[in-house]
Symmetry: C2
Subunit: 336 residues, 2 copies
Amino acid sequence: MRKRDTVRRTTAKEVAAAAGVSKWTVIRAFTPGSSITEESKRRVMEAAAALNYSPNLLARSLATNSTRQVAVFVDDFRNPQKLPFLETLTERLQAAGLVVMLININNHFDHVHALLHADQRQVDAVILFGTAFRDETLADRKLGHGMPPMFVLARDSQIEGVPAVVCDAELALREIVDHLHEKGYRRPGFMSGATALSTALRRRQHFTDFWAEKGVDKIELLSAEKYSAEAGATSVHEYLSRTAPAERVDVLMCENDILALGAMDEIRGKFGLRVPEDIAIVGFDNYELGGSSAYSLTTYEQPRFEMVEAIIGMIVGTTEAETVTLPGKMIIRNST
Amino acid sequence: MRKRDTVRRTTAKEVAAAAGVSKWTVIRAFTPGSSITEESKRRVMEAAAALNYSPNLLARSLATNSTRQVAVFVDDFRNPQKLPFLETLTERLQAAGLVVMLININNHFDHVHALLHADQRQVDAVILFGTAFRDETLADRKLGHGMPPMFVLARDSQIEGVPAVVCDAELALREIVDHLHEKGYRRPGFMSGATALSTALRRRQHFTDFWAEKGVDKIELLSAEKYSAEAGATSVHEYLSRTAPAERVDVLMCENDILALGAMDEIRGKFGLRVPEDIAIVGFDNYELGGSSAYSLTTYEQPRFEMVEAIIGMIVGTTEAETVTLPGKMIIRNST
DNA sequence: CACCTGCTTGCACCCGGTAGCAAGACTTTT
DNA sequence: AAAAGTCTTGCTACCGGGTGCAAGCAGGTG
């Protein structure tokens, strides 16, 4: 590793010497609310500006036991939805004086590794951003009890004492089903991606429950291999191939927009069917491309900003740390 | 800020007391290659395991003047291409024992702020990942000369002494033009996004140059407002509306896949034209959705892995720090 | 003018490691 | 058995700040 010892940063001690005060006075000048005369502060600031001094946050963190760094764990970079969330997360955390340490959870660097690492780096909090974190992981004996506080973002928390911030799936699916019912659809289908995820299962469950309330019990269940346009296309292809036109669903809700876009392309391109006339499509996440006129996909937007604000509130301690469920927003377009 | 003082991490001194040695012996047990007997090491490790000790990287960083943290600046989260790059960056950096500090450059947190912050945090390097960083910024008098080493990723470096790692645009455009010429296209068009970016201009320039070499001098230039499917659609819509069918281009190269997808949808959906029969389309970046059967977009893939490896090589010092241009890969599909 | 009060300032010590020296223990050589 | 050499171990000093206490100094009061 190339070290940075070529040009050393100036220290409080050096500024002190230049300003003719002690290093503690320099530190006070940089500590809001500490007792120091205007005169000394001015002299210190002048010397600091001349020497290009700024406090070393590493040393401060060591002394104060607070790094103002938040580790964000991500284990699936395939979902384009991660990007706007990362944007909001970094932006809001930076506004709160915090900074993001982005950790890629993968086969070579699992949750236990990552947690130990985050702990060694003394992060103030860990955000599990949609990662498949299981309870057992925490039971790992290598993990002591001094771990940094953890929060789950955009996924249910599987872990006792770890709060989650999620979009209200019940409300979302109720709104969606209400809308579809109102539009006259009666033969609904649901396409899932990973059926092992609780968040995914919950959406499907609400979908079937609310249709049941409306007297519709038959829900066609499709499943895609993974969350990709190709998988969505394959899944709907398989379904349409084996189902006679009269038997087909009149509306297909896909677990997220990527699946929906893939399905839509397949329905129109390969089968020559019209959306929404032959089959209506609904997605989830309001992914940008879905808004273009070619797709005009009806979807549901998670309250990104509010979710991020909520999690930050808990991290900085202005809000009590407990699971929060926030309402999102239905985006009705031409695909339904 | 909620502090972590509830459960303090155990320190080397505490382990030392438990193991009946001095704290320096404990540290040696955790420092590969230092002189320590098997016996002492075993005792230390036992005590450490019992007390759940691991070295505090903050303190280590302070003492060694090396944090093994790399700041990554991103200023445009709209480009979906960022996500796979972030995945590769985090993965490879973690494999090299480094960790990513993700900084969002925006109106409230500009390059100067971010650099000062990164410097205060003592990062080992700064990666300007496709950000619009200009030379003048560095001239800011607040920026001293002890700044961390900087590297530009996926964009030309505008700054003296700051190396860049980029995809070879000349080679890429040559391959693309060769391919199109061979396929028999003779009336090419080029759609740009932001015309202010040197990287963008360069692609366009090579495109026109190589066509000129083949005796084709007339290049239709379209321009989109920004890099979005909608903007691509709008741009191509405007072009097709004002151009008689006989006058139209037979192939349109778009500066990136997002523009290409938007353009393709518009060409097919709104104008009822066929791709590639009426107009062929080429993109850039090999964005996942372009590979789906509905689009089957011919495009060009940047050598993500190699680019990231190259930049890491420079950061850790195994490679000399100088601008590197790497060859990408042409992906020929059905849109040409 | 002595005394009290309150704000400034300097100081010793601390955060949890690292570097390099020197003393101690143990081994090998003569 | 003494001298020389090697490996271990502890120690001092240091990285660059933060904390709480006590001394220094000003102004106001009796």
